[in-house]
C-alpha cells in the first residue's frame, strides 16, 4: 500500500514546494518510487524545481480532471541522475495556463475522479509514496487532499500570522481523522534556540515537529536552482530534509 502524504500550509511562502521536491528526491535516492502531484491548481509551480517548463508538459492534471486524458499520460518521470538507486520520481503537474486555472475556479471538479486517478497512478507506477503539494489555505481541494492522506505535513514559519492558521489546519485534519500529523517549521532565524522553539510549537499544537528548518540566505539562492539535497548532500539542511523523509516511512 502506498503512503499518501499531503504537504500543506495555511499561508503561501512557507517553502512547501521546495520541501516536497527535496523530500521526494531523498525518498527516491533511498530507492522509493515517488509520485508528486501538484494539486495547487490555482498557482502551480513545483514543476520548475524538477527542471520542467510548463510549455513542455502537454498533459496535466487538469486534462485528466476534464476527461481529456488518462492520468498516467500526465505523469512525467523527472528522476534526476542519482547513483545506485532504483528510486523514481513521477511528477503530475497542474496546468499553468490561465484559462485552465479559471475553469477550475469556476467549475470545480469531481473529488471522486481525483481519488480514482490517484489510485490508478499508484497502481500503474507502482508507487511507494504519493506526495500531494496542496494550495495554501483551506478550500475544497485542500480539504479533499487532507482527507485522503495517511500523513499530513503542515508547514509554518515562526511568524504570528502563521500561528492561528496552522492551528486551524491541524484541527480540521483531526476532525477528518488523518492518522499522522506532522509540523515543519521553516525559515527559523539562526539565532533562535531551535530546541526551545520546537518544544513550544509541539506543546501549542499538541503535534510532533518533523524538522525545524533554519532561515538561510544561501538556501534561498541555491534552493531555487533545483534540488538542493542532491547538489549539497553533506549540507546540514539536507540532513533536516532527510529527517522529514524518514518520518514518512515510519
Amino acid at each position: 500500500m502506498a503512503r499518501i502524504v499531503s504537504v500543506h500550509s495555511f499561508r503561501g511562502g512557507t517553502g512547501k514546494s521546495n520541501t516536497v521536491a527535496n523530500v521526494a528526491a531523498l525518498l527516491a535516492a533511498g530507492g522509493r518510487r515517488v509520485g508528486v502531484v501538484d494539486t495547487d491548481i490555482q498557482s502551480p509551480g513545483i514543476h520548475v524545481l524538477f527542471g520542467q517548463h510548463s510549455a513542455e508538459l502537454p498533459k496535466t492534471l487538469n486534462d485528466y480532471l476534464w476527461g481529456r486524458a488518462k492520468i498516467a499520460e500526465a505523469a512525467y518521470d523527472v528522476t534526476p541522475p542519482m547513483e545506485a538507486s532504483a528510486g523514481r520520481i513521477f511528477l503530475i503537474p497542474s496546468s499553468a495556463h490561465t484559462t485552465e486555472i479559471a475553469r477550475v475556479l469556476r467549475e470545480g471538479y469531481d473529488s471522486g475522479d481525483l481519488v480514482r486517478g490517484l489510485r490508478e497512478l499508484i497502481d500503474q507506477l507502482a508507487l511507494d509514496v504519493l506526495i500531494i503539494d496542496t494550495h495554501p489555505g483551506i478550500n475544497e481541494e485542500t480539504l479533499l487532499s487532507i482527507a485522503i492522506s495517511h500523513t499530513l505535513i503542515v508547514m509554518m514559519r515562526p511568524d504570528s500570522q502563521d500561528y492561528e492558521g496552522t492551528g486551524i489546519a491541524i484541527e480540521v485534519a483531526r476532525q477528518l481523522g488523518v492518522p499522522n500529523l506532522l509540523l515543519v517549521v521553516n525559515k527559523v532565524p539562526a539565532v533562535l534556540d531551535r530546541a526551545a522553539m520546537q518544544a513550544q510549537v509541539e506543546q501549542t499544537y499538541n503535534c510532533p515537529v518533523a524538522a525545524m528548518l533554519p532561515h538561510s540566505d544561501e538556501l534561498m539562492v541555491l534552493g531555487s536552482e533545483g534540488l538542493f539535497v542532491l547538489r549539497f548532500p553533506a549540507h546540514p539542511m539536507t540532513a533536516l530534509y532527510q529527517q522529514i523523509a524518514d518520518r514518512l516511512l515510519v
Binding site: 471522486g112 489510485r119 482527507a147 504570528s160 492561528e164 476532525q175 522553539m197
Partner: protein, 235 residues
C-alpha cells in the same frame, strides 16, 4: 611637570627626625602620618591607605627589617614603595633593605633637595605602576565580559568604568558594551517572539474559524465520504 602629592607614613623612633621630615614633606605639599616604632607602623598600615613609607632601619622591638619583611609578604601591600632612612655608615643595612624590596634610601641628615627628588621619583613610579595595574585589571574585565557574554550572564553596566576611559581600551569597552546591548536586545526580541507563539493563538477565534469550515456542506459531505474515498486508495 606638576609634582605629585602623596600620603606618606614616616616611621622613625627618634622624634626630632620625625618632626624634621614631617615639616619638610608638608612644605612640599604631602600629607604626612607619623609612627614612632615598627609596631605602630604596622598598625597604621593595616588601618590606612598610603602612597609611600619612609622607614628607619634601627628601631627597638620591631625594626625596619621586620616591617619591610611583613610588607613584602602581604599581597595587598607588597607594591607599596618603601624608602629606608639611614646614616651613611649603615650602608650594609641599606643594601640588605634594597635586596628585600625597598625602593631607595635617604641618608641622614636629610637634604631637602635630595628628599624632594627621591620622594618625587618614587611617587611617580608608583603612579605609573598603579596605572598599569588598573589597566591590566580592566583588560581582565573585558575578557571576563566576553566569557560572561558567551555564558549568557553578561550585564552591560559591568563595563561602565572601562568604557569611561579616554584611551583605546575605553573604546574597546564602549564598542563591546554597545555590541553586547544589541545582542541582548535582539535575543530578548526573539525570546519575546517565541513567547508570543503561545499567546497569539486565539483559541476562541480559532474554534470559530474551524467551526465555519467543519459546519460547511462540503466538509460534512466529505466527512461522510472519507471512509469510501480511503477505501479506493487503500484496498
Amino acid at each position: 611637570m606638576m609634582e605629585i602629592k602623596g600620603r606618606i607614613l614616616v616611621v622613625d623612633d627618634y622624634v626630632l627626625n620625625r618632626m624634621q621630615l614631617k615639616r619638610a614633606l608638608e612644605t612640599q605639599g604631602h600629607t604626612v602620618a607619623l609612627a614612632e616604632d615598627g609596631r605602630q607602623a604596622l598598625e597604621m598600615l593595616n588601618a590606612g591607605d598610603y602612597d609611600l613609607v619612609l622607614l628607619d632601619i634601627l628601631m627597638p622591638e620591631i625594626d625596619g627589617f621586620e616591617v619591610l619583611t611583613r610588607l613584602k609578604n602581604d599581597p595587598a601591600r607588597r607594591d607599596l614603595p618603601v624608602i629606608v632612612i639611614s646614616a651613611l655608615d649603615e650602608m650594609e643595612n641599606v643594601v640588605r633593605c634594597i635586596g628585600m624590596g625597598a625602593e631607595d634610601f635617604l641618608p641622614k641628615p636629610f637634604d631637602p633637595l635630595l628628599l624632594r627628588a627621591r620622594i618625587g621619583a618614587c611617587l611617580e613610579k608608583k603612579r605609573l605602576r598603579d596605572q598599569e595595574v588598573e589597566y591590566l585589571q580592566q583588560v581582565a574585565r573585558v575578557t571576563a565580559a566576553a566569557a560572561a557574554m558567551e555564558a549568557g550572564d553578561f550585564t552591560p553596566d559591568s563595563l561602565d568604568d572601562v568604557a569611561a576611559r579616554p584611551d583605546e581600551l575605553g573604546q574597546l569597552g564602549r564598542v563591546f558594551q554597545r555590541m553586547a546591548q544589541e545582542v541582548v536586545a535582539r535575543e530578548q526580541a526573539l525570546k519575546q517572539q517565541v513567547h508570543d507563539l503561545r499567546i497569539q493563538v486565539d483559541e476562541a477565534r480559532k474554534a470559530s474559524q474551524v467551526a465555519e469550515i467543519t459546519e460547511s456542506d462540503y466538509f460534512q459531505q466529505l466527512q461522510s465520504r472519507v471512509g469510501d474515498l480511503r477505501k479506493i486508495l487503500d484496498t
